[in-house]
């Protein structure tokens, strides 16, 4: 059964106000087409989760879509601290989000536990630090500290997470949603498999036969997927290995814009509300910066050797 639809339809049908969302990717494959659509549809009261985050989550926070954020790290990397996130926490603009803080070890393992159907998972980090003292909306369920039933040594347990919806961007998927990814993985595979429903955004839709030529690359099986959207350049200004590079100058543009509330609003008006979909976004990019600049982002070709699964 084909699950191919537009991003607009996928977000309308499968993302509700108040949902708990995993959004995959960090610089590598952030699903920006879907993120912009969430902002366009003015979804609100979302709980969002991912390990390392950047401009993508900052934008959702600045646009007022986020109520709660299960986080480890947010910054604009090379361009410094995340402006909308800081305004929210320091000044309550547009409102103060609630944050529950973990680390890049504990949070991925909480998603893994969710994917594996485990109630919680022991972790060896966070102990002895102020991360234990700060508890927000998860309260005493942020973690539990016990003596190991096996050898009596102290063990921290953190709860499994099962988001309502995961949104990921991958290189290719078939019409049923078998999603194939390569390159830096972050917590994408576990976050997607922990969720009850998965929206797969991809650079290209391929046939089931193409998927079957290299099935080890599939990170989410079609049966978990509710929507497949084809969004070339869907991760811009992030990158997709084999397709296009990071757009550093656009990252700078976002940082400059998000320095002020007015600048951030103007950015949204131009790049999110000012376009109907990703095609218009790319066209606007080309009109504004020129085709040469757009073409500079394209990846070179450097194919791996073909693999054979034959017997």
């Amino acid at each position: 059964m084909s699950k191919i639809m537009t991003t607009q339809e996928a977000i309308t049908r499968f993302v509700n106000d108040g949902d708990f969302l995993f959004i995959g990717g960090y610089i590598c494959r952030p699903p920006f087409a879907a993120i912009h659509e969430i902002i366009r549809q003015k979804k609100k009261d979302l709980t969002v989760v991912r390990s390392n985050t950047a401009d993508d989550f900052d934008m959702l926070i600045g646009a007022g879509c986020v109520k709660r954020f299960i986080c480890t790290f947010i910054s604009l990397g090379l361009y410094g601290l995340a402006r909308c996130f800081r305004r929210s926490i320091e000044k309550g603009i547009p409102h103060k989000i609630e944050i529950e803080e973990y680390t890049n070890l504990s949070l991925p393992l909480m998603l893994m536990a969710g994917a594996l159907g485990m109630p919680f998972v022991p972790v060896k980090d966070m102990v002895g630090t102020d991360l234990m003292k700060i508890k927000s909306f998860m309260g005493d369920n942020k973690y539990k500290f016990i003596d190991s039933p096996f050898d009596g040594s102290p063990v921290m347990l953190v709860p499994a997470l099962n988001p309502d919806v995961a949104i990921i961007h991958v290189q290719q998927a078939d019409e049923e949603g078998n999603a194939q990814m390569w390159g830096i993985g972050g917590d994408c595979k576990w976050g997607a498999n922990a969720a009850k429903k998965v929206i797969v955004s991809c650079e290209r839709i391929v046939s089931r036969e193409v998927v079957g030529k290299d099935p080890s690359r599939t990170i989410v099986p079609g049966f978990k997927v509710v929507a497949v959207t084809e969004e070339p350049f869907g991760a811009h200004p992030g990158y997709t290995p084999g397709f296009y590079d990071v757009d550093f100058s656009f990252g700078y543009l976002y940082q400059q814009a998000s320095n002020t509330v007015e600048g951030f609003q103007a950015f949204l008006d131009e790049w999110v509300f000012g376009v109907k979909n990703r095609t218009e976004y790319i066209n606007h990019y080309i009109q504004k910066f020129g085709y040469e600049q757009f073409k500079k982002l394209w990846a070179k070709f450097d194919y791996s050797y073909p693999v054979s699964y034959a017997y």
Partner: protein
């Protein structure tokens, strides 16, 4: 006896100090900037078999330009293995395989605790910082942790505003009490003025060497805790010719390291 060209800048000296902490065959988890430069200087000089990892999931990358984040596109082609956070932070770091971790912080204290969460009160922050990311698990679980810091009273403290990443926490016995693995913890603080190590008994950072343009007195004055001075205190060895050659000719031909001068590493 090595040659020591005298045209180096301070960030180059700091990168070389980091490199000298790495032994051949070490598995090193790096972020961007100093850690990558240090680990690569080591690879091109005394530690050809050291292997680098990024927390995002990359092992033994072969980047053709300096990586600007742990998710940088240039880390993909040529790597020996790419997985994700569960692979590197879970299987390799928590699994106990990482020899060296590099950390930087907005604030570091005398026990090597690091703050990357908040300046001021957590609930009413003066400045909200990015958060732990991979820093806390690296500080908790890497066998040897190298800390990079600016040497002034803003970036160093008797006690950090918020312990994001554990050094020796409250002092002797703290890491053991919390069940952190034996023989882990911060090993050195490399600043733009000096190299500090941790006293085996008190777990407080003391002065091991001061950089060529400064002095014991200056470093003591700039340090916000009562800085003990090693009996063997000496001037930091300047960058060796072969270290600078690796850095300038292979690793950083565009001298991007100069941006650290603008950030105060002078």
């Amino acid at each position: 006896m090595s040659e020591h060209p005298n045209d180096y800048i301070k960030p180059e000296l700091m990168a070389c100090c980091g490199a000298r902490e790495i032994q051949d065959g070490d598995i090193v988890i790096v972020g961007t900037g100093f850690p990558t430069m240090s680990a690569n200087i080591a690879r091109y000089t005394h530690a050809p078999n050291a292997k680098l990892m990024q927390e995002s999931g990359v092992y033994d990358a072969r980047p053709l330009r300096p990586a600007l984040s742990v998710g940088d596109p240039c880390l993909n082609p040529g790597a020996a293995m790419i997985g994700g956070l569960v692979d590197v932070m879970g299987m390799f770091l928590q699994g106990g395989w990482i020899d060296v971790g590099f950390l930087a912080g907005s604030q570091v204290d005398k026990y090597g605790n690091i703050n990357t969460t908040v300046i001021g009160d957590y609930n009413a922050p003066k400045s909200r910082l990015p958060g732990s990311g991979g820093a806390n698990p690296i500080g908790s679980l890497a066998k040897k942790v190298l800390i990079i810091s600016l040497h002034d009273t803003r970036h160093m403290a008797e006690k950090v505003d918020f312990i994001t990443t554990p050094g020796y926490i409250d002092g002797p016995g703290s890491r053991e009490k919390w069940g952190l693995p034996a023989n882990t913890g911060p090993s050195v603080i490399i600043t733009n003025k000096a190299v500090l190590r941790f006293d085996k008994t008190t777990k407080v950072a003391y002065l091991e060497s001061y950089h060529p343009d400064t002095s014991v007195d200056e470093v003591v004055k700039l340090t916000p805790w009562k800085l003990e001075v090693s009996d063997n205190v000496h001037e930091t060895e300047p960058p060796r010719a072969e270290e600078l050659k690796a850095l300038r000719e292979i690793l950083d031909p565009f001298r991007m390291i100069k941006i650290y001068e603008k950030r105060g590493y002078v």
